[in-house]
Symmetry: C2
Subunit: 322 residues, 2 copies
């Protein structure tokens, strides 16, 4: 994959995704000793960067396959992104969701016009159910990260940031399955060969960190972390191949550090972030990266959290009360 793939994705995404704002905060700059540029994908349509990859991948399907519709297993940001992309493209979408998924996620997905099919997370085989539905109706699965078109779509986040801000010497990017990191790394090293790329994982969801250490993909237990968007058990095959080659390292942040970053975002930036969306900011605030260069780009990847849950996360010691 090359930067040209990301540029082509940007052309397809033009007019569909927002060119999200880049926020600054003098307080943040003073705290961390660098000029920080926050690329705010929490303001993206559907509330996260995931729309970029999902729409791009769907839009590249052959017309006859696309017309039959899309399917995804994700009940999170990728699920909403696939639902929204299908509506934009005028095709049906099915989102498989556990029957006990939060009502707000279910409503958002239905609100975007998708059909929600529920399953019993303890009794049913989600993948078998998905395959059966896909085969019956001719639906195409849109994978959440491990696909070249998804990676190229996510890379447009970094393309926009590097286009908007000159002289960035480091990008700090949240890592779940690794699609945003891989796409960003392809763009950043393509434009600025010396740029440093730092990934951020939650302490309990350190599959990419462990995999980099081991030199091969390593699976971990299902992570218990507030950063549900980064609770991957295993890096993607394609994303890991890219990240292994281009990323300097992965730093880890605790759930408490993520909550501190969310509170900072409220108090100082006046923005709402979901836990995964605040993890890269947390890495800076918790000084996990060591000495920073003078200009640092940070991706705030999403803001999908309902108000009640958000309030819980902002309150001190929520971890001990839940």
């Amino acid at each position: 994959m090359q930067i040209e793939d990301v540029r082509a994705a940007a052309v397809r995404l033009d007019g569909v995704v927002h060119r999200t704002p880049v926020l600054r905060s003098r307080t943040l700059d003073d705290l961390v000793g660098a000029e920080v540029f926050l690329k705010c994908e929490n303001f993206q349509r559907t509330g996260s960067f995931k729309l970029r990859g999902a729409y791009h991948a769907a839009s590249r399907l052959p017309a006859d396959r696309l017309a039959r519709g899309l399917i995804t297993y994700s009940s999170g940001n990728h699920g909403q992104a696939v639902a929204f992309a299908a509506r934009e493209l005028g095709v049906p979408a099915v989102v498989l969701m556990p029957a006990d998924a939060p009502r707000s996620k279910r409503e958002a997905t239905i609100g975007y016009g998708a059909e929600v099919v529920t399953f019993d997370r303890y009794a049913d085989d989600r993948e078998a159910l998905g395959r059966a539905l896909a085969s019956d109706r001719g639906l195409t699965l849109v994978p959440p990260y491990d696909h070249p078109d998804v990676i190229a779509g996510q890379g447009t986040v970094a393309l926009e940031l590097l286009d908007a801000v000159e002289g960035l010497e480091m990008l700090v990017v949240p890592v779940g399955g690794g699609g945003l990191m891989a796409g960003s790394a392809i763009v950043a090293t393509g434009l600025h060969p010396g740029i440093r790329l730092i990934g951020v994982e939650p302490l309990a969801g350190d599959d990419t960190r462990r995999s980099l250490d081991a030199g091969r993909r390593v699976a971990i237990e299902v992570p218990r972390t507030i950063a549900d968007g980064q609770a991957a058990r295993l890096p993607g095959e394609l994303t890991f191949a890219v990240n292994r080659r281009l990323v300097e390292g992965i730093v880890l942040v605790s759930d408490d550090e993520i909550r501190d970053a969310m509170r900072f975002a409220v108090g100082r930036l006046k923005i709402v972030t979901e836990p995964s969306g605040a993890s890269a900011l947390a890495a800076l605030l918790a000084t996990r990266i060591g000495r920073l260069p003078s200009r640092v780009g940070v991706v705030v990847s999403g803001g999908n959290v309902d108000a009640g849950r958000f309030a819980e996360l902002l309150v001190e010691d929520v971890s001990t009360s839940s």
Copy 2:
């Protein structure tokens, strides 16, 4: 006062205040049946529009008076604005604050370089204390709203909004002392004579509404409302004279409606608003205005609320638990 006064203020404020973003939300448009343009002063430096009026008024002082310094009674957004303006202008500032003011407000004010002088809100005469300090040190009081230079500064909010968005047929603006409303009304009617101007007060802080009904300024009891930025007891003399002439009417919103708007801002807009900052949005969401024209501008006036208090406000039924 004329639109030229506001244009002159905009020139003085250039490079000092942010040209804050105008946000859109399709969900909001669909809900209220109009195109809504949110002027987000929660992203302003110091976290609210108050910097505009405070800096403008201070910058217009004669050099010798300015050099001796500024003083204000406000422990809220205006106090932070005066502190910040003084720092920008390189002069001292004193902010009088009750000894039991929230630590976050005190810290923010000190962080901007001001001297905080505390008083006992039950025993001391704040105004006498202020007058004594001002006279001893030659400090100039920067009033929070009832001054032509403050009004002209606040008017730059509407000037920027009307410059950024064509064809607005209505502006909806929070009203406390009435400075933001008056400045906005001068600009809006100057640029678009037929534009409709709607003010919004909290139900318990309806001094301007009552005053408009009575045709003269009417004082109310100290309002008990979560919208502390709008807890005025009496409209300003100058602001009321302007608003009486130019504003179509004042609509009222309950604290619960304000909380609903704050939750909407979190869930859909991904922004942090303080209660006063969300009151104009609340008026739209609670359908307090009647039939809307096709394009409506709404001022989100501020976002200063610390994370813990913000969490409290987001939780349902906080009113019954506090």
